[in-house]
């Protein structure tokens, strides 16, 4: 990575706030995601992790605050905007269409075209190639998503984010529904994303997973940032106390 990439974060949030009626979901949240780095976001239920991810991916529009992509101030009014800015999100519910096949799901929202028509051949060939690159052995890209296991779906969803040419990849609970072997495979893919120079943001409940793979950990609590730590310089105890609020930190 070049130093310039390190200096300007791939994605930066400044003072993001979001209210739903009288409920404050996010208040003054800052976040910095750098290329070639995995940032984990942890926090208890209701800490604002999901709202934060939805604000970054363009599903919710923040009431206040600023989103900067490569140092440029950006406004996302829809998920399409966020994607266009190079931010891909792999949602907890995976956002796959079950009645459609693997290769169509890989290209939803960005179907390749040949003249007026969808270029099915190219779609199939590129899906194949991307899945091969991620070392996923797919027998048939025409298989319906509804036929796949949770782990297979997770990997398809991640593969789709990579395919979309994202520079920032958000993963919402990527290991929640996975078995041991599938978790390992998901972790390999996430590490590969980092090695390829992407900024990776992972929301996770899985503290072991976070400590094994994240470079930095951002703790959310009650809609605010409770603290940010380098994984190498913190302990599970400190992170857990930040999550539960037994250790308070003055927020600016």
């Amino acid at each position: 990575m070049e130093t310039a990439d390190r200096l300007v974060p791939a994605l930066e949030l400044r003072g993001i706030s979001k209210k739903f009626g009288r409920v404050t979901a996010l208040e003054g949240v800052d976040l910095t995601a750098r290329s070639g780095e995995i940032l984990a976001i942890v926090g208890d239920n209701g800490a604002g992790k999901s709202t934060l991810i939805k604000a970054i991916s363009g599903i919710y529009r923040p009431d206040d605050g600023e989103i900067l992509v490569d140092g440029q101030s950006s406004t996302f009014t829809s998920p399409a905007d966020a994607r266009a800015a190079g931010i891909a999100t792999v949602f907890q519910d995976l956002a796959l269409v079950e009645c459609l096949d693997v290769s169509t799901n890989m290209f939803i929202g960005q179907l390749p075209k040949k003249g007026w028509f969808v270029d099915r051949k190219r779609m199939d060939a590129e899906s194949r190639r991307f899945l091969d690159e991620l070392k996923v052995t797919v027998a048939d890209v025409h298989t319906q998503i509804g036929m796949l296991s949770g782990g297979q779906r997770q990997i398809i969803a991640i593969a789709r984010a990579v395919r979309a040419g994202a520079r920032t990849v958000l993963l919402d609970e990527p290991t929640a529904a996975l078995g041991v072997r599938e978790t390992k495979h998901a972790a390999d893919i996430i590490t590969a994303l980092r090695e390829a120079g992407n900024a990776v943001i992972v929301v996770s409940h899985d503290i072991e997973f976070v400590f094994a793979f994240a470079d930095r950990i951002q703790v959310m609590r009650l809609g605010r940032v409770a603290g940010v730590r380098k994984t190498a310089e913190t302990t599970r105890e400190e992170i857990i106390s930040l999550i539960t609020g037994t250790k308070q930190e003055a927020t600016a």
Binding site: S57, I59, S78, P79, A80, R83, A84, T89, F91, D93, L94, A95, L96, V97, E98, C99, L100, T104, I108, G109, Q110, L111, K113, W116, F117, V118, K135, V136, T137, V138, A139, D140, H142, T143, Q144, G146, M147, L148, S149, G150, G151, Q152, I155, R160, R181, E182, K184, H185
Partner: protein, 346 residues
Amino acid sequence: MSAPFHTDVATSTSNQTAAAVTSSRRRRLADQVRDKTQLAGIVAVIVVLVVIFQIGNPVFLSPGNVIELLRSGTLYFIVACPATLVLVGGGIDFSAGAVYATGGVSAALLMVAGIPWPIAVLLGVAIGAVLGILNAALSVYLKVPPLIATLGVFFIASGVITVMTGGNSVFGFPATFTDLGQGYLLGVPFLVYYALVIGVVFWVLLEKTTLGYNARAVGGNRAAASANGIRVRKHDLIVYGIAGGVAALAGIMGAARFSSADPAAGGSGLTFQVVTAVIIGGTSLFGGIGSIAGSALGALLFATINNGLAVINVNSLWQNIFVGAILVFAVAIDQARRGRQFLSRK
């Protein structure tokens, strides 16, 4: 159910991959067979009915009656094409019957007022498209469920044209216009050719274009479609707009065919027959799945029942009993199909 692919390369021997390929091919084949089975089922029902009607009255399969049967089915089928797109996209359009009448009456009033027929036709289609967009706007922006939004538009549109015409049919069209609805080519009515062209256009739209792929995505999982960058609201506006425009066009064809535009034409009868034909044709009421070929067979089934019962002198009131039974049966098949596909995953 064995997985069609491996997530762990280290353990995937070529042997296993081969097995996975085979099982996947087999399943794909099974899917295709199952989809074909439903269509084959409709064909079988049609064949049985044809045999019964033919025994009841040998006139049934005479060229004249077959052409009449096809012609009577064309307008339903034309409306069923965009209705298929709407249902695949996870919506439903109950306004079609009234938009049909509105298209016919609007074009008719314009022609009677002295406006050249091509312009009158275009304006009639445009009015239908606007009503379709209104359907979508009500559900997209005001969050009125499509069922209610389109039902509301149904009543409003049919009310407006009834008031404007005093409930009377409009007639007095130029001959060039009525010829388009009544002419024949090689012994087959123009209307049948129009239906063929529209059927092919919608088949291409649904199977080959971004609009069709997006419809399946939006109907299959709206939240996922949106999260992946499909502008679902815009999609709805376009699809319902097309549905309105084509329903109005069918109404205009009906006006040309009968040399008059009746504000009570189409109506709830057309709405329900179209939705029923589409669902009988295998399009899922829950979105994501459907085909134009299926809707064509659904419309053909309707036309066969309508025509056959008349030909064998059975009171047409019996028709609804058949149709109701077939509809319930078709939805039961759809449910069973979805259950098998998606409940197996957990």
